[in-house]
Symmetry: C2
Subunit: 153 residues, 2 copies
């Protein structure tokens, strides 16, 4: 019948801590890289999925389409993504990361990864691997529960 409420409070505390720390990492890296943090997530998603629509990005990103629209506009102006009309649907825009965009993303990732790697210097590869595994299970369950109910309700 699942964990106790006490444990869940602990989980929430952990979430809160991660939230803060992610914010700090983002800000720290932002200071030395000329790319807006929110746009990074978008760029990363494009790198992972390849050419995508605005609406798809919004859905995956769990944000309003208008947000993605503006971010894409910004990234396009910076030359980090390109858009082209979708052949099969004249309403849709297909967005791709440019090679310059991918390079910029790599730079960001490098900086972030370095921070994390240094912070986890005491961990073994196995520790981290196991942690990531469990972390993944956790986020999957959470996501499934948070998103499905909306449709079912």
């Amino acid at each position: 019948m699942g964990p106790t409420r006490e444990s869940c409070v602990d989980v929430l505390r952990g979430l809160h801590a991660v939230f803060q720390l992610k914010h700090v990492i983002t800000t720290r890296v932002w200071e030395e890289r000329d790319l807006h943090p929110a746009a990074v997530g978008l760029l990363a998603e494009l790198a992972r999925r390849g050419e995508s629509r605005v609406s798809e990005l919004a859905q995956v990103h769990l944000v309003d389409p208008s947000v993605v629209s503006r971010q894409v506009a910004q990234l396009e102006k910076a030359g980090l993504v390109e858009r082209r009309a979708c052949r099969s649907d004249g309403r849709a825009q297909l967005i791709t990361a440019t090679s310059r965009g991918l390079e910029t993303l790599d730079g960001w990732r490098e900086a972030q990864v370095t921070l994390v790697q240094e912070a986890l210097a005491d961990w073994t590869e196995e520790d981290v691997h196991e942690f990531v595994r469990q972390f993944g299970l956790f986020t999957d369950d959470l996501r499934a529960h948070l998103l499905v109910p909306e449709a079912v309700r």
Copy 2:
């Protein structure tokens, strides 16, 4: 010599996912409770630490003192915290959560905890406990690395 960069990328991906999900949880709960999300973190910190200074809260919270100052002002207006002058230091303010503040916090927590508890219905108490433990180690290491260097540098 610590984990590989690949593992660290996985960690970052996990962080990003948590970031989004926390955001969704917060928004969802916010819709049904009349308390600003950021203020909740503050209130929770006050409940955990007891009477605290603005500067302490800012430090723990990893934000600028001005942010805490405004949040406290808001919470005070809502009757959820009280401030009193510090005896030993005339510059400082001591902030405490009122009983009404604690109740409100509980309400929030209930709603959040319920979400998490439902999401983790398949987990055993031990699973969650172990997860929280490792999660704590992770955030501690990350926090230590992110904050100490500032002073040392």
